[in-house]
């Protein structure tokens, strides 16, 4: 058990390091560039329409405070960290005076829900089909699926989402193409609301699943075709162990071990996909929030979403890493 403890401590250390480096990166980006972020934000925020001069001045003051631009670089750095640790990103510029944290809190469940469900479906489906394709290499259906996976895998997120939008939005309009739920429904736990949420989630989830499934499929297929040549699989075959048992407990089980690590590694990428997907389908998650915040020049919101996504993805990675030893008993001795 001691080995597991060391493992956990190590992963926690890695988690802290990821968050630390990520947030420092955010600091460097916002503070070390020669451009004055305050003026940038104000010009972006005020470029549409007329804003009263004293409102601009008020914005300027609160932005300066928000950036922590006063004082020495060390003080600025400390102020920056203090705000991050308190999750205090100030009021949103675009939805003044709602605090940034409230906006993020509202959007986060949408993204988390969409991402979790579609990631799990993608991972399970991709590995299952890829595993079968690696084991039954002669099956025509699975070979065809391999070709489809190869074709889908390299398509950029945006293009695929756009294609789905065209197909299900214009050519065959059966699914809602925008929003997280029907506008007229109150957000309470009624069946109408839940089914509306699910209906609205189908297209964005489908785009994420289609785009992601290829790499799991191909990865698992090649892993399985390696695992079947391992001694323990050959031995089980020579031992007349039930074919089904060999496939599940010997082949798939062992091939899945690196795929779990792979899932942790790919979480950051999955999040990238979610941002564009949310934008295309008008999904009210933090991806949309981020994009709109950039358009509106809302510094606090952009920084808040960036920080939250770094922390969120790191927590996801940590969670997967902590589950990993359940799958691979050898972790304890390493």
């Amino acid at each position: 058990m001691n080995g597991y403890l060391i493992y956990i401590v190590r992963r926690l250390g890695q988690f802290v390091l990821v968050v630390f480096i990520g947030i420092n990166l955010a600091y460097v980006i916002t503070h070390a560039t020669p451009i004055d972020p305050v003026e940038q934000s104000i010009s972006a925020a005020t470029s549409f329409g007329n804003t009263a001069p004293d409102a601009i001045e008020q914005m300027r003051t609160s932005l300066r405070e928000l950036y922590g631009l006063g004082g020495s670089p060390v003080e600025q750095y400390l102020v920056f960290w203090r705000r991050i640790l308190r999750a205090d990103f100030g009021p949103s510029m675009s939805a003044f005076p709602t605090p940034v944290s409230t906006l993020i809190g509202r959007a986060l469940p949408w993204t988390a829900g969409l991402l979790m469900i579609s990631t799990i479906i993608t991972w399970v489906l991709g590995n299952l089909l890829g595993g079968l394709a690696g084991y039954y290499q002669k099956s025509r259906g699975l070979k065809l699926m391999g070709v489809i996976a190869m074709g889908l895998h390299p398509i950029p997120y945006y293009i695929l989402a756009l294609l789905l939008l065209i197909v299900f939005g214009f050519l065959w309009p059966v699914l809602p193409i925008a929003g997280g739920s029907a506008m007229n429904l109150p957000q309470t736990w009624t069946w109408d609301f839940i089914s509306s949420v699910l209906m609205h989630a189908i297209l964005p989830a489908l785009s994420l699943i289609l785009i992601g499934i290829g790499s799991w499929f191909l990865g698992m297929r090649s892993l399985v075709s390696n695992v079947v040549t391992e001694d323990y699989v050959v031995y089980a075959e020579l031992g007349g162990v039930d074919r089904h048992r060999i496939l599940t407990s010997y082949v798939m089980r062992n091939a899945l071990v690196p795929q779990v690590t792979g899932l942790a590694i790919s979480l950051g990428g999955i999040f990238n996909g979610a941002v564009i997907t949310e934008k295309v389908f008008g999904y009210p998650g933090i991806g949309s929030l981020l994009v709109d915040a950039v358009y509106a020049g809302d510094y606090g919101l952009v920084l808040g979403v960036t920080t939250i996504s770094i922390v969120g993805v790191s927590i996801g990675v940590l969670a997967i890493d902590l589950l990993y030893p359940l799958l691979d008993p050898r972790v304890k001795v390493r």
Binding site: Q14, F170, V313, S314
Partner: protein, 287 residues
């Protein structure tokens, strides 16, 4: 090198298709030099003309010829991907080889940083960059930033190979033949790592071009330099899809998908070629 190319062409259908696709895209990008219109000028041709013998891929609502615009776009996009791949390969190679061969605390420090970059969600960070830089964001700067963020996974790959190479007996034979560390890394280990570098180059280009398209579509790049993503951005700005100007979006999309599938197939066939088992059977080792 030429023999590898010949072998792959002759025996690997995936490589053949990949070469054809990538070759087509490359030819298209070369054609940019012969364009009758400068890429940054608008309303040089009648707007919204569907594909025809005069305008093969039609024209845009901004009065640009889609075909010639596309040649510029794909050239810039490929240049972008190539730049990112080149710089990040150098980083991955140096960090991977040194980390793997040296081991110890150097390895531990480098790999901790490395693992951090692997799981970092890059899009928000790139968006933050754009947010701060705004109009000063050129594609070269974006390429530099992405190269600095995109080496980690491949460095780990190279490191694992370097580590196993280090423990192989021929490394010690080389040491005791009087070779220096630099000579061993360059002459003995690099040949094993090069195929990985080639195949990850393809994957890295797919990755960086994909991100660039994403950012451009959102308008978070220098939209005045024509790229594939930039074209789609302008098409969206003019609601081309709703207006029925499908060719404005369809052709850039088709070209980028071709590029991706081509690069991906090249990477796949390369991987198969460098697979140690297949390599051994080609060389005809002991049975």
């Amino acid at each position: 090198m030429l023999r590898i190319l010949r072998d792959l062409l002759r025996y690997n259908p995936e490589f053949r298709i990949g070469i054809v696709l990538v070759g087509f895209v490359l030819i298209l990008s070369v054609l940019a030099s012969f364009s009758p219109y400068p890429p940054d000028q608008v309303y040089v041709v009648p707007p919204d003309v569907p594909p025809s013998p005069t305008y093969w891929f039609g024209t845009t609502s901004r009065g640009q010829d889609v075909f010639w615009q596309l040649t510029f776009a794909i050239r810039n996009t490929l240049l972008f991907g190539g730049t990112v791949a080149l710089i990040s390969r150098v980083l991955a190679l140096v960090i991977g080889l040194v980390s793997g061969y040296k081991g110890g605390w150097i390895d531990r420090v480098l790999m901790s940083i490395n693992d951090t970059f692997i799981v970092m969600p890059l899009l928000p960070i790139l968006v933050l960059f754009y947010f701060v830089m705004r109009d000063s964001m050129s594609w070269l700067i974006l390429a530099l930033i992405m190269a600095c963020l995109g080496w980690a996974y491949d460095a780990r790959l190279i490191r694992s190979v370097a580590m196993s190479l280090k423990t192989r007996e021929f490394t010690q034979s080389s040491v005791f033949s009087g070779m220096s560390t630099r000579e061993i890394l360059v002459q003995e280990h690099l040949p094993y790592v090069m195929p990985i570098v080639f195949s990850t180059t393809m994957n890295n280009m797919v990755w960086s071009i994909g991100l660039e398209v994403t950012l451009s579509v959102l308008g978070f790049t220098d939209i005045n330099t024509p790229t594939i993503g930039g074209m789609i951005y302008w098409a969206n700005q003019h609601t081309a899809m709703v207006a029925g100007i499908w060719w404005w979006i369809a052709f850039p999309t088709a070209i980028v998908v071709m590029t991706f599938i081509g690069l991906f197939l090249l990477a796949v066939s390369m991987n198969e070629y460098i697979d140690p088992r297949s390599r051994l059977s080609r060389m005809g080792g002991a049975s």
